[in-house]
Symmetry: C2
Subunit: 227 residues, 2 copies
Amino acid sequence: MSVEIKISLNEGIYLKDPQDSPLGRNIIKYSILLIDEVGFEAFNFKKLAQEMGSTEASVYRYFENKHSLLIYLVSWYWEWVAYLIKINTVNIDDPKKKLKIIINSFVSASVDNPTTEYIDENKLHSVVIAEGTKAYRTKEVDEENGKGFFKNYKKLITMVAGIILEINPTFEYPYSLASNLFEMSNDHIYFAKHLPKLTDIKVEENKYAEVEKMLNYFSAKILGYEI
Amino acid sequence: MSVEIKISLNEGIYLKDPQDSPLGRNIIKYSILLIDEVGFEAFNFKKLAQEMGSTEASVYRYFENKHSLLIYLVSWYWEWVAYLIKINTVNIDDPKKKLKIIINSFVSASVDNPTTEYIDENKLHSVVIAEGTKAYRTKEVDEENGKGFFKNYKKLITMVAGIILEINPTFEYPYSLASNLFEMSNDHIYFAKHLPKLTDIKVEENKYAEVEKMLNYFSAKILGYEI
DNA sequence: TTTTAAATAATAGCAATACTATCATATAAG
DNA sequence: CTTATATGATAGTATTGCTATTATTTAAAA
């Protein structure tokens, strides 16, 4: 038995919902693999179509361009992390424990079951780590934000900020801390792999235990509690 | 009287040192203005040459491509921030005061004098905020890191980590905190302007006092001292 | 001053990218 | 069975990211 996750994403991001057809699901599947392999700059719809055994024109019927596709992928990731956090905190009352689960979800966003068949969540996490910020670091950010393209990120951060306020209701920076935990998680996994002089973290074999420990430590200090 | 800053950057970044000729200095000057105006994706050497009244081929004699030019610009910025920190902390003994100056330098990296005539430091700061991470979020990061292209960033972070250790010699994450303060400064200035739901900061008229206050607060909590 | 070298400008061209358009064919729905 | 819809196949166009060639200006050396 498997439970299918229904991810709801802003309609403006795509031209046609890729979840609704085999070709669409293939676009998602292979774009994750290909971006992870060649990087976002070298990635394009021609290569993607080739990889999938389809055509460039067909891909363009789903997404305006590769930038929209990247927004789709990171939005899916944000939504999925939010989902993970929800199912793993559902029976927990202590907000400190909830934050620990949040940090674990940020760092090692993966789960065995349920999962979506055409999405390799670990690869998607890699893509988000390496390319995620490019989704909103563009000249079009205000326009796209106006269209709701970053709604999923904001929703995720709002939820985390709420839990931070449960721990410390007078804390002045719940949203900043929430987004910083997310960004810092990705940054330091990336630094550990590629620019190790920028962090104290050591990553071995895709195990991010040290990142998790660090984020727990930082959170506890900032919010004023013992781990 | 003005003191000229000599910025020393890795020779591999450029084909010919742009500091050494009027055309080279123009490339730096106009690339900052143009990237700030149109964004890094839309920026190219043809537009830059047009803007400067030069030619595409001439720009290519200084930099292999726009990516190298971006690395040059952010390296200049990193080096310049390090310089600012040094001159502003030279007579200060208390490492907590030094860290305060570091945070001020990260957030509002600007100074009236001395300055480099062909570089608008405020605009460069804007470029680093919006485009800086793209310098090292590429598939070529390991290769370029091997060539020393990110030496200036690592130098800056190493210096800051040293001061953090002066404050708290048993602190486990001096490099992580240092790089996080830098990245967080840029992130939250960007968020405040473009994705305000991701931060608690409000920015008014390019005054970043709130960001500064937040980073001082976070540092003090994490390192365990009163502001 | 003359000559020679170096830097820049002007122009052309080429392969790849980022699309758009058209038409044929397959599939599914009415 | 007919018609709408999705996909495939193919072509084409404007822009980008360069490289090459030659001419012209500027600076350095003789």
